[in-house]
């Protein structure tokens, strides 16, 4: 049976625990799965707790694990996210807005940087969400690395560009596309708020050492909504 794992830290403040279980229930509904709770007893060593959560995430049928997010540290939720082959949903802790604990996931933001790896990572999740009628919004942010080389006529260029971007990077029909300019992390957070999304889905490399995953860390730190981190399959062959 497919399920979403709710990782409840008994030492956390109640509002955070409620946010985790609420998010897990909403995600389970959107993914047509059950919820399975696992409790981390108060006083447990962080390393032991992480190892236990990772074992739970490896269980067959686990679609995602929901944890209360925290600052990047060698252990804790980020440790789990870095080492889990199963997607992890990090819930803002404590919740930054008065989100109803059992709110449904009706709109999901899919930031895509244009890499095949990121697209491949979120494709499966996007498909699962689409099945239950979740509104999918794809976001691509232009920065120095991703800005197109050519933009011929403002009257026509976006349609051709966006159509092709979606064709290559997001197979779901009916997806809406948003384009922004600037820093990716900042724009994702802003668009998530402006579009009133309930969840952000990100593909990521699971590397958080210095200089890596800055965008992911920024989004998790600043977004008001849970962030689902999906491990990106390692690139075949040497990196360019």
């Amino acid at each position: 049976m497919r399920h979403v794992l709710a990782v409840v830290d008994d030492a956390a403040v109640p509002v955070t625990a409620a946010a985790v279980t609420g998010t897990a229930e909403a995600a389970a509904e959107a993914l047509q799965a059950d919820v399975r709770e696992v409790h981390l007893p108060a006083g447990a060593e962080t390393g032991d707790a992480s190892a236990a959560v990772l074992r739970e995430l490896e269980r067959p049928g686990t679609l995602a694990g929901v944890l209360a997010g925290a600052a990047v540290s060698p252990a804790g939720p980020w440790h789990v996210a870095r080492h889990s082959a199963t997607p992890v949903i990090l819930v803002p802790a404590p919740p930054r807005t008065a989100v109803a604990p059992h709110a449904a996931i009706s709109r999901v933001l899919l930031p895509l940087d244009g890499s095949p790896e990121a697209a491949a990572a979120v494709t499966g999740a996007a498909g699962l969400f689409a099945r239950t009628g979740v509104d999918l919004v794809v976001l691509h942010v232009f920065d120095e690395a991703t800005v197109p080389r050519f933009w011929d006529q403002a009257a026509h260029a976006r349609q051709a560009w966006a159509q092709e971007f979606l064709a290559r990077h997001c197979a779901q029909p009916g997806v809406r596309m948003e384009l922004r300019r600037g820093g990716a992390g900042e724009q994702v957070v802003d668009v998530a708020a402006a579009e009133h999304v309930d969840l952000i889905v990100l593909g990521w490399s699971q590397r958080v050492e210095e200089g890596r995953a800055r965008t992911v860390r920024r989004i998790v730190a600043d977004a008001d909504v849970p962030v689902m981190l999906i491990p990106v399959a390692p690139r075949q062959g040497p990196s360019p």
């Binding site: 933009w151 009257a155 026509h156 560009w161």
Partner: protein, 890 residues
């Protein structure tokens, strides 16, 4: 009967060369078995050459074939030194090719063979075949003894001449000493020869897939390995003719695929919503299981698109073409395992169009119409079987109505004529027609095969997308996709037309005719804005009214689109295109005749558009120049100078005593142009030099869409420009610019140019070459060459960038070769980049076919008639035929 070796089994050849001794027919004996096969091959359209060391009488007496066509029979005799064509009345001596070395022999056939020796007849046959578009890869050579590759031949040996390098050479002899690596040794003697020939006859009779010559100098390949390329390939592999084009989508339904048939000038919708109407599709069939990885190959030399699946026992193979000689007629053959390929109906409606279907004289028709315009097709198909292979042959003919729904019956005669001819002969016609095109227009860049192929691709797609001769509405993406809605921009007039006029002057004239036929709408537009004359729209479609949308996006930012309102230079660009057509083609009567109203009315518009200040200086306020990063500017140098040129050029058409003409000249003299003779620079518009002096070195490496990166307002506050603006004057009307000002403006505006428009790299390359900076020019030319082939824009899938193709050819012709026409003289001023040792160009100019072979030391010019040529500003030369012109000044 056993099947031949695998290298022969799946290949249908277009020509067969037979070594006579392989027949094993002794002197005095009859050659009935061979005769029957040769007769069957010729009847099936295969050209056959029989090569012998004996005299012609001895061979013909035994073979005694009297072909009735369509395939021809040649007899090479006396050890290859004699060649005869055999017709109904027997062998006729003579070479098929005039051997003068002049490519433009009086009958228009290819020439250029060398001295006659033991390989002379082989060279002549291969040259003849090349002239018919039959590359060596389509030739089968069967003999029992071969000479060494490229070496002298002994009596009875078949010479392996270099021209035959890609031919399939098969030995049926004993070959006791072994065979050359590229030779297929079957052995088996005369019996094997007959089996090989029988197999070819059988493949013809069973409608098997014809072969495509996989010559790397002429083929664009798409392996299908990269899924993100699939839709790009659909655009790249577009085939078109006569104003109708089919995207290169695979035949079976595939997710995300956008198959489309579009017709030039046939739009649906209204206002800014006008877009090209997709027509019925003709290439579809079902394939179960679906195809795996395949190789798709576009043969530029013959205008044929082929497909072959890899790694399957019964692979799907297809070949399709858009008939050059029969506009509106398309044809396809396909094959796959029985039970796997299901033909289905020959015509299918587009994904988003209303259609009706019916039958007509036993053929199925489909029509798509919006009630005002429409596209209809009538199709025939044959489904057959060859052992375990299902075969499909489909021919369709189209008719279209830009202003009324078409009648399917109008296409019936074309379909029936094509059917009577049959697929093989349609294909032969196609190959010959494309060979004729390439004899007239082509490029050779020794040592740079990638650039050569990319330029050929550009020429190929210009031919595919621009092919109507009544009037040609050439949209920004041609007929290769739905992007830009098929709207016609200045791309057509300034970028595509100058290329097309050097390829097919009649097609260029049709592009001008498109504008001429919409002069009434242009007059109405001018009147509506309180002006006189005619104002052409920034975006145009069916009627000539302005169809520019009023809103759009810069990335994710919704922006008002003001080009329709303000980008007025299009009016002068249209006039310039008419003049350029007349000047380059030598159509002297055109300007004083059909184009005169266009020149006069556009001048009237400018005369009414200018504002004269208290000091008597004339201005044009509130425009957008080619650099679209700066909007609503005053006195844009490009707009003003083009208007000035328009006024003066039109005044020249009026009676010298005409008061209106005098007023135009006086106004033109008063138009400010922002030129500073001290610095040699033009100020792009009033106040431009006061903008922040940012250069691209401080922003990002071009090409880049700087407006997306910096934002609209930020980029407008700087001197960063999207594409050549002032410099377009040096490209279009250099005679209107300050003497020697090209270099100064290149130095100034070059570092400020983002090249964020796909129009920019090729034209800048042209200007750099003319300025004596060919190495820099080549770098930008390579960007332009890769623009679609490597999908640099990320939007090629939605259509090819025709203006880039036109710019590429202009860069070669006007830039690197320095070819211009002035006063009926072809001016040449070549500038070769260091990486090129030479450059060969073929093109049309002043009613002649011209061939240039350029080196640093000399230019060899060949023409098919008298032509006035001036090289490097030297003496005027009257060239007729070949001329060697040494470089004088470099």
């Amino acid at each position: 009967m056993g099947e031949p070796d695998g290298r022969l089994r799946d290949r249908t050849f277009e020509a067969v060369v037979i070594g006579w001794y392989a027949t094993g027919v002794p002197r005095g004996a009859s050659a009935v078995p061979v005769r029957r096969r040769v007769e069957a091959l010729c009847a099936a359209g295969v050209d056959v050459a029989v090569m012998s060391g004996e005299d012609v009488g001895a061979v013909d007496g035994r073979l005694h074939v009297r072909p009735r066509g369509p395939g021809r029979l040649w007899l090479g005799a006396s050890g290859g030194t004699e060649l005869y064509e055999v017709r109904g009345d027997g062998p006729r001596p003579g070479w098929p090719i005039a051997g003068s070395g002049d490519d433009f022999s009086p009958d228009g056939r290819y020439a250029g063979i060398g001295p006659v020796d033991g390989a002379g007849s082989m060279r002549a046959v291969f040259a003849y075949l090349a002239g018919r578009g039959i590359g060596a890869g389509l030739v089968l050579i069967v003999a029992d003894r071969f000479g060494p590759p490229g070496g002298a031949v002994a009596h009875g040996e078949i010479p392996l001449i270099p021209e035959a390098g890609r031919a399939t050479a098969v030995s049926v002899g004993p070959e006791p000493g072994g065979v050359a690596p590229n030779l297929l040794h079957l052995g088996g003697g005369p019996a094997e020869l007959l089996r090989v020939l029988d197999h070819q006859v059988r493949r013809r009779r069973h409608l098997r897939i014809p072969a495509v010559d996989d010559d790397p100098a002429w083929t664009i390949r798409e392996t299908g390995a990269d899924p993100s390329r699939h839709r790009v390939a659909e655009a790249l592999l577009t085939l078109g003719s006569g104003g109708l084009a089919t995207r290169g989508s695979v035949e079976e339904p595939v997710a995300k695929s956008v198959p489309m048939v579009l017709v030039s000038g046939v739009y649906t919708g209204s206002g800014a919503g006008q877009r090209l109407l997709p027509g019925p599709r003709w290439t579809g069939f079902a394939l179960r299981p679906p195809a795996g990885e395949d190789l798709r190959m576009l043969d530029l030399r013959t205008g044929v698109l082929a497909r072959e699946e890899r790694g399957h026992d019964s692979p799907v193979r297809t070949v399709r073409l858009a008939c050059v000689t029969r506009p509106g007629v398309v044809a396809m053959r396909a094959e796959a395992g029985v039970g796997r390929l299901r033909a289905g109906p020959p015509l299918q409606p587009p994904a988003d169009g209303r259609s009706t279907t019916g039958r007509l004289s036993g053929h199925r028709w489909t029509r798509v119409t919006d009630g005002h315009a429409g596209i209809a097709a009538v199709a025939a198909q044959r489904v057959g079987r060859d052992g375990g292979v299902r075969t499909l042959e489909r021919i369709a003919a189209y008719t279209a109505g830009p202003a009324r729904p078409p009648v399917p019956r109008d296409a019936l005669a074309a379909l029936e004529a094509a059917e009577r001819l049959g697929f093989d002969r349609l294909l032969a016609e196609q190959r010959a027609a494309w060979a004729a095109r390439w004899r007239a227009v082509d490029i050779r860049i020794p040592g740079d095969p990638a650039a050569q192929l990319a330029v050929r691709f550009a020429l190929f797609q210009l031919w595919n997308n621009v092919g109507r001769y009544d009037e040609a509405a050439v949209g920004a993406r041609g007929l290769s996709g739905g992007a830009y809605a098929g709207h016609v921009f200045w791309d057509a007039d300034v970028f595509v037309l100058p290329a097309v006029v050097s390829m097919d002057p009649a097609a260029a004239r049709a592009m001008v005719a498109y504008r001429l036929h919409r002069l009434t709408a242009a007059r109405a537009r001018a009147a509506a804005s309180g002006r006189a004359g005619a104002r052409f729209p920034w975006e145009s479609a069916a009627t000539g009214e302005d169809v520019t949308p009023v809103s759009g996006h810069l990335g994710g930012e919704a922006v008002p689109v003001r080009t329709g309102q303000l980008e007025e230079h299009i009016t002068a660009d249209v006039a310039w295109a008419a003049v350029h057509y007349a000047r380059w083609s030598g159509d002297r009567a055109f300007l004083a005749g059909p184009a005169r109203p266009l020149l006069v009315e556009t001048a009237r518009y400018w005369a009414s558009r200018c504002r004269v200040d208290d000091g008597g200086r004339a201005h044009i306020d509130g425009v957008i120049g080619p650099d679209e990063y700066h909007e609503a500017v005053a006195d844009n140098a490009f707009t003003n100078v083009m208007a000035r040129w328009n006024l003066r050029r039109a005044a020249g058409l009026l009676d010298p005593g005409c008061a209106e003409g005098r007023r135009w000249r006086a106004l033109a003299d008063r138009l400010v142009d922002g030129y500073d003779p001290v610095s040699g620079r033009y100020e792009q518009f009033a106040g431009y030099f006061r903008r922040e002096p940012l250069t691209m070195a401080e922003v990002a490496a071009p090409p880049v869409a700087a407006d997306l990166l910096l934002g609209r307002e930020r980029v407008a506050a700087t001197q960063i420009i999207k594409q050549p603006d002032v410099l377009m004057l040096h490209h279009l009307v250099p005679e209107e610019t300050g003497a020697g000002s090209l270099e100064a403006n290149l130095d100034f505006y070059g570092p400020r140019t983002a090249h964020g428009s796909s129009l920019s790299p090729a034209i800048t390359a042209c200007l750099l070459a003319r300025a004596g900076r060919p190495d820099e020019a080549l770098k930008l030319l390579r960007v332009a060459l890769a623009l679609d082939l490597e999908d640099l824009t990320g939007t090629t899938a939605a259509g090819l960038h025709l203006a880039t193709f036109g710019g590429v050819w202009q860069a070669l012709l006007a830039g690197f070769a320095g070819a211009r026409v002035r006063d009926g003289t072809l001016l040449l001023d070549p500038r070769l980049p260091t990486a090129w040792e030479g450059l060969g160009l073929r093109f049309r100019c002043l009613g002649r076919r011209v061939r240039l072979d350029i080196t640093r030391e000399a230019v060899d010019v060949r023409t098919d008639g008298p032509l006035r040529v001036r090289l490097d500003a030297g003496d005027l030369r009257h060239v007729t035929g070949p001329a060697h012109l040494p470089r004088q000044s470099r």
